[in-house]
Amino acid sequence: MRPNSTLRGSSGRTRTPAATRKGAIMIIGITGGKGGTGKTVIAINLALALADLGKKVTYLDCDSDCPSAHILLGATLRKKQEVRSFIPVINEEKCRKCGRCVRNCQFNSLYMPKGSAPKLVEGLCSGCKACTIACPHGAISEGSKPIGHTYRAEKHGIELFSGKLKPSEPLSEKMVEAVKERGFREGKGEIFIIDTSAGAHCPVVRALEGCTHAFAVTEPTLFGEHDLEAIKVVLKKLGIPYAVITNRSDISPRKVPGAVLEIPYSREMLDCYIKGTPIVRALPSNPTSRKISSFAKGLLK
């Protein structure tokens, strides 16, 4: 998708999910389908390896449900900014109880108790504003609810942007957009690394939109291989060129076909994960670190 083909919303909030930031040579998405295959640990180490080669790297942690890149990097999240989403506010004096807003809400977030003005179930509201347009009496005005926060951090020479969805709020994809929007606006990287959440649904799609390359991280288990197929379909739909990385490639006799990088299970990598210092930085001469570093070198060719 070309960045300019997406128009802007009336709220004045820029919509830049597909934006390719000027000057960025690569936007690399790291995804995988199944959870816990090692997306974040590989993304962080790859980011550091690229930084070690003299590149400016900006890391966008687009798993706003469960962000963990800052934990693996040992960084503290700072510069908190609130992210809000539209909710309708119904002016009971202007409301004529015609029910148009209720009928036109596709998310069933409005209901009308007998004899009263419509009420909102906040948790179901997607912020689409269809109710505002549907109301012929101008009785709905713009309110907002907080859905989470975005943050930034810096450590080991890379910039990190992250977001935390407010628990019990369902709008993961809006948080992902907010992280990307802020990251592309404030980030100065030549290379952007976008780390997605598990799964193959809307927040993952939002995260991957606009990536110039992607890596699907999997593991040699039935589950890993099954979920890899789902994420491949998403990547093909988005038209993003991708390759497969197998993590813990030796935990079973299975072999994932076509992987461009295979990282065997290593106790050291796990220890670094637990300690919050990426292995590329903690043990640069470890075989795993070397493998990731030479892979990063290959990417720049």
Binding site: S5, G35, D65, S126, K129, G199, T221, F223, V234, L238
Partner: protein, 295 residues
């Protein structure tokens, strides 16, 4: 009794614990609520009793694509799904949420909302229990609605066949499909591994559980990979921590073959069965559950 297994972070062992629980419980309807990446059907093969398409969202389709010059059509769409290409408008399908704001704002374009095929819901009769799962079309929205539909079907089965327990394996994360999985449950089990990322994200998942006022307990998985964080978990959760499963290399090997991990002889298999029995004991005694209900 409806019970859900969740963890926030992915890959901590939800599917291992829930499959063990399903096997030990005996009589339950098992719901795999990870609709974009379902896995339980790989472990439990059975006869498909039902497979039907399900629509969880709508798609705007432009009937009269003759936009006027100078009108900013994109501005009404909160999701940035309306693109203008030359003199035509295009709905960007993977951004459209089907809210209908465009059809209300521009009646002249004759935009209608059509049902999208979000995926399929499946009921499979396995040897031990009915398994209900979904197959979302990769990249589709509306996973939460699919989960609600799976739960509705599972409840029908449980009433119809008089099966007392409903077991729900939640997906990773804390977003809409997880909220859909947790809501309306009587009990939740959090699965955690001794790593800082897992502890932090279990905490976020438990905030969702507490939001619904559901009592819960915790199972520690992959014990042995970090003493420090194992200590932190037992300190943080105290008596809520009801079972510990050791790290065992047999587990990925069994999963590679498609064998449910609680059916082996290894240390983790034994511990998984024991954990399942502890959870069942908690589920049976409502009294006990009230005791562990968090403040």
């Amino acid at each position: 009794m409806k019970i859900t297994i969740l963890s926030g972070k992915g890959g901590t062992g939800k599917s291992c614990v829930s499959s063990a629980l399903a096997l030990e419980t005996g009589r339950c309807v098992f719901v795999d609520a990870d609709v974009d990446c379902p896995n339980q059907f790989l472990l439990f093969k059975g006869k498909e009793m039902l497979r039907k398409p399900f629509s969880a969202s709508k798609l705007a389709v432009i009937g009269n694509n003759s936009p006027e010059e100078g009108t900013d059509y994109g501005k009404v769409c909160e999701f940035g799904a309306i693109a203008k290409e030359k003199d035509k408008l295009r709905i960007i399908e993977n951004r459209c949420e089907g809210c209908g704001a465009c059809s209300l704002a521009f009646p002249e374009l004759n935009i209608r909302l059509e049902d999208r095929k979000s995926g399929e819901v499946v009921v499979s009769n396995t040897e031990r229990f009915p398994l209900v799962y979904g197959e979302l079309v990769p990249g589709e929205a509306g996973s939460g609605k699919v989960v609600f539909e799976l739960k509705r079907i599972a409840e029908e089965i449980s009433v119809h066949e008089n099966i007392p327990n409903l077991l729900i394996d939640a997906p990773a994360g804390i977003g809409c499909p997880v909220i859909a999985a947790v809501s309306g449950c009587d009990y939740a089990v959090g699965v955690v591994e001794p790593t800082p990322a897992s502890i932090a994200n279990l905490g976020r998942a438990l905030e969702v559980v507490r939001h619904f006022g559901i009592p819960y307990s915790i199972v520690l998985n992959k014990k042995g990979i970090s003493k420090k964080y194992e200590k932190e978990i037992s300190k943080r959760f105290g008596s809520l921590l009801i079972a510990e499963i050791p790290y065992d290399e047999q587990v990925p090997r069994m999963l590679a073959k498609g064998v449910p991990p609680s059916l082996g002889k290894g240390t983790a298999s034994v511990a998984l069965r024991k954990a399942a029995r502890s959870i069942i004991a908690l589920m049976r005694g409502n009294e006990k559950i009230r005791k562990v209900r968090p403040k």
